[in-house]
Amino acid sequence: MALDEIQIGGLGARRKRVEDARFIRGKGNYIDDFKLPGMLHMETLRSPIAHARITSIDTSKAWMTPGVHMVITGDMAAQHNLAWMPTLSYDTQAVLATDKVRFQGQEICCVVADDPYIAKDACEVIVVEYDPLPPIVNPKQALAPGAPIIRDDKAGQTNNICYTWEVGDKENTERVFADESMQVVSQDIFYPRTHPCPIENMAIISDYNSATGKLTIYLTTQAPHIIRTAVALVAELPEHMIRVIAPDLGGGFGNKVPVYPSYVIAILASILLTRPVKWIEDKTGNLISTGYARDMYFHCDAAIRKDGKIQAVRVHADTDNGGFFSDAQPTKFKIGLFHSIFGCYDVPYGYLTAQGHYTNKAPGGVAYRCSFRITESMFFQERFMQTCAYEIGMDQAEFRRVNFIREFPHRTTFGFLVDSGDYDKCLDLALDKIDYDGFKARQDAARKQGRLLGLGLSCMSEPLGAGNSREYDIIGIKMFDSAELRVHPSGKAVLKIGSKTQGQGHETTFAQIVTHELGIPADDILVQHGDTDNTPFGMGTYASRSTPTAGAATAMVARKVRAKAKKLAAHLLEVSEEDVEWELGRFYVRSAPNRGVTITDCAFAAYTNMPDGLEPGLENNAYYDPPNMTWPFDVYVTTVEVDPETGEWDVLKFVGVDDCGVRINPMIVEGQLHGGLAEAFAMAYHQMITFDSQGNCIGSNYMDYMIPTAWETPHFELYEVVTPSPHHPIGCKGIGECGCVGGPAAFVNAVVDAVAHLGVRNIDMPCLSSRVWEAIKYKKDVSGTPPLPGQ
């Protein structure tokens, strides 16, 4: 008898998490929980101003502070060729400022002391003198005539542009726009800067052993293997003598992919002092200096046929990249996967241009819970679709339906290959659950009573799970992922993966994949990750890629192990391999199904009773290079009520329908969606990080950068549709970030819909009550773009 897969924790089981046991007892292992013998503590001194030439740094008092072991300046780092480091976008970034500071919060000095309080004291007595320069806080200022060149360190840099990029068919797009029968709709929207801000800040312990020459780095990172290679290349250390251990991560959300300056200095300090050095960032340091996200200005024109079919789009995006171009993204693309825009719609022609700008703000451009700037593209897409529907006078849902792609695979206008989906089914279900048909009457009736109701719809399919390796790499390393599986003689197993959990529950779900393939109960499988000495090389966990890549590798390695187990089964059953059949957990003789052996029997035989010529052991590894991204499809629809007197708004109901293919563990999928949708709500509602005209970061702590609590966060009512991925070995698609990517447009669309009858087409995020009130009062769009001086 085949085993009951759900019973043993296989595919589809709502298996409770194995990670929980340590977390609910306070036995997690986050970086700050580690104490190594002789460990010292580092603190980083940051620039209080945004743009200035450094005229002097006096560290003498810091050196004299009792308990201080070392004060490291940029000049000292330069002696080790570490004053600058490469970024993930092939730019350079100052590790410690030597010439000038380029954003508020930039790292200037690091102090290493006996304890963190002493290190902080010593930072207080360092005297830095600055010669201020005019700060630039947005792209318009960056391009203004006479603007100071922020990156005057770069030979040949004569302006503040850090990249330009284009894709699409310009000629045919322009031809369509020249057709006078087309209705052209245009819009400008701003996606403000936001910050992933996991509750646990950045943290490292660097431990250099001078006797063995081994460097062990304990790091809160989503990508330990890439970090190891990056450290080897930047610091010119032998890679086999570097071990990166990423233990439990207190969240990541894209913020924990890059290498940050203080990491470099902690490593340098531990090598120079030959002692372990710990650095724990504070929240303000995290918010003002580490990888921000978004900060993009969007313009789009659509040429629309009388029947509502979009015939061409013209897209332009300007990004504000801060002082260094350090976006974490695949090499080939300068604006991430922003060109995934309109991917779920049949748009014959499109032309997309983008330009990046240096400003005096923190660098970053990280994929904050998204697959490389997809959050921006899907937000703009769905905000713009709503505007188009208003302008051509068509129903919101119908307009999307008219433009949906229905035949798969479909090559999008900007070059992606969408391979599967059932969009109508998802949309129908979502509209039914929100009572779309009845809403219009409710909205009209409410308006007659002076109440404002709105409905917002967001539909999207995003490419998740980079690679393939032909097109996707990070600093040259191709974007595959890996798994290694070892079955012990007693049939218990250890799975080692190249990706890295930061709350997604890999230790629970990856075991379920092995269970599905081998029939070993999930409780008998230990999943290991995050230690580069003990796991195969992988690109890590971000961009919703773990299940599409490492998850696929896990299925593939389990199949390799099963193929070997089959040989052992044939040996034990004394038949030829061709006569052996498989059902979950058991091989049997085709002609005599009662004669069988379990996977445990085969595991035991692999070490105790191998046939002649068969290598002992039962283990293997797999490197998986996906043929394509996976393409989930998601519909989010929400209703809100806006208070016409104050502009305050409340979510009445939120419905999400997600098709992420096969769900390994539905409980985990729902949890991921809840989390992503809460972050989407946060961005739409009130989470804001901005800058004043002097480049001061407003939103530098959790009092100003308000992430929503249980009190504000609405309910999310979720439904599923399953269209398996045609190429993923078990039919899964990425899902971890869909809520965060598709959610914001649903909320903003709903708020705008509530006031659209006043002529309002846009309120930039976050939809603060003051902005909504302004839209109602003055019957106009409300921009969130920063004002220019004199405005």
């Binding site: 998490r17 929980d20 609910i24 439990d248 969240g251 529950g505 949890g671 959790y702 009190w711 999310f716």
Partner: protein
């Protein structure tokens, strides 16, 4: 050299005594001096609640209390929930309802919930959400945290066990 002060307090039912700097924060006293690393430090500004402990039975954020202020008081940290053999209703609820992901906010969240349920063992959802509004979670979207607290309340009602769990 800094002056030191003696602190005597009860932590997780055990009397503890230490000489500490007056400026040492309670969260650092708990983590570094007592070695109880289940209490986490998130934001430094009393906002996120990752450092929440029970102080004489009430949830407080230990990043904004000095260690010396604990002198003569009773502290409960996550290590003081449940017993080695048995989870408290709140711990069990978080596991059963998938009320945690990365786990970093979880100890503070559970202590707030524990203090709250001791005061209000039969809360409405609105009361739970309000009670938790001083604790940030970046992973879960709170839906399952609310369910976890409801699960714990139900367990307390049916078993008679306190929110903090059976002692001993």
């Amino acid at each position: 050299m800094p002056e030191f002060r003696t602190v005597q307090c009860v932590v997780n039912d055990e009397p503890r005594e230490a000489e500490i700097e007056p400026r040492l924060l309670l969260v650092h006293f708990i983590r570094e001096v007592l070695g109880l690393t289940g209490t986490h430090l998130g934001c430094d500004t009393t906002s996120c609640g990752a450092c929440t402990v029970l102080f004489d039975g009430l949830p407080v954020k230990s990043c904004t209390v000095l260690g010396v202020q604990a002198d003569g008081h009773d502290i409960v940290t996550v290590e003081g929930l449940g017993s080695p053999s048995e989870l408290s209703p709140v711990q069990e609820g978080f596991h059963e309802e998938h009320g945690l992901q990365c786990g970093f906010c979880t100890p503070g969240m559970m202590l707030t919930a524990t203090g709250f349920l001791e005061e209000n063992p039969n809360p409405t959802e609105e009361e739970i959400r309000w009670a938790l509004s001083g604790n940030n979670c970046r992973c879960t979207g709170y839906m399952n945290i609310v369910k976890a607290v409801q699960w714990a309340a139900k367990k307390m009602a049916t078993s008679g066990i306190s929110a903090r769990g059976a002692r001993g």
